[in-house]
């Protein structure tokens, strides 16, 4: 077993365990903390896949910004173990059966996927800022500019919704 494969299995184990703990944790604060662990494991996978810039952006955007927002909202609303609603047992069993069948179907369907799954002319520099910047500002310039409009709309909407009602 090579070092890369060992790292792959360690990161996969961390990602799957913390993903399961996000669903299982009683306290929403623990869910957020386990989700941060999962994001770091996924960032490790990105580095293994030669997507170094994406790994850094992933940590900054997800673990840095989005998860702080979640943690802040959970603590502001003071949600904890006592206020957590619980489903009746039959709903939980039904959810586990449905989710497990979805998982099995996805794995089974994707395992049958055909096509060129072997590496062809492998290039280790595709994840660098230079290559990604070239693609982003030549082929995807209009979507890039539109995403700024999306952010502005989301920001204005969040402020409008967050304001107290004016009567």
């Amino acid at each position: 077993m090579t070092t890369t494969e060992i790292l792959f299995f360690i990161l996969t184990g961390i990602a799957f365990f913390s993903g399961a703990m996000v669903v299982m944790s009683r306290n929403p604060v623990y869910s957020v903390l386990y989700l941060i662990t999962m994001f770091f494991a996924i960032a490790g996978h990105y580095i293994l896949l030669n997507a170094q810039f994406l790994a850094v952006v992933h940590i900054i955007v997800y673990a840095g910004a989005i998860m702080v927002l979640f943690l802040f909202v959970i603590m502001m609303l003071n949600l904890n173990k006592e206020t957590e609603p619980h489903n009746p047992p039959w709903v939980k069993i039904a959810a586990v059966v449905a989710g497990g069948m979805m998982m099995a179907t996805l794995v089974g369907a994707l395992k049958q996927a055909s096509g060129p799954l072997t590496k062809t002319n492998y290039d280790t520099t595709i994840g660098t800022v230079e290559r990604l910047g070239n693609v982003l500002f030549s082929d995807f310039l209009i979507p890039f500019e539109l995403s700024s409009a999306l952010f502005l709309a989301a920001m204005v909407g969040a402020v409008m919704l967050g304001k107290k009602n004016i009567h």
Partner: protein, 99 residues
């Protein structure tokens, strides 16, 4: 690294996200499980990008991240507005659109 391993991993993570949406009743945890599903898809895009030596898929990951950030900002603002009025984030209680 075989591509099938990454396919299996992201299918498992996506399944966990679906399970969380079905399993939990707290709306904030459901938003977090949606983030998990988006991350599974991102991981698959990066794996395909690495195996085909094509940076285009990694640009799509950027756009998924941008949309996810906007979605979380608006979603959490909506949840706070709902919490102010109803004092709960239980999705079984939040079915007023039905009545």
């Amino acid at each position: 690294m075989p591509l099938q391993w990454y396919i299996t991993l992201s299918a498992l993570l996506f399944g966990l996200g679906v399970l969380g949406v079905l399993f939990r009743r707290n709306a904030i945890v459901i938003l977090m499980c949606i983030e998990m599903m988006l991350n599974a898809v991102n991981l698959l895009l990066v794996a395909f990008s690495a195996h085909h030596s094509d940076p285009h898929a990694q640009v799509f990951v950027f756009f998924v991240m941008a949309v996810a950030a906007a979605e979380v900002a608006v979603g959490l603002a909506i949840l706070i507005a709902i919490y102010r009025n109803t004092r709960t984030t239980d999705i079984d209680f939040l079915n007023q659109l039905k009545h």
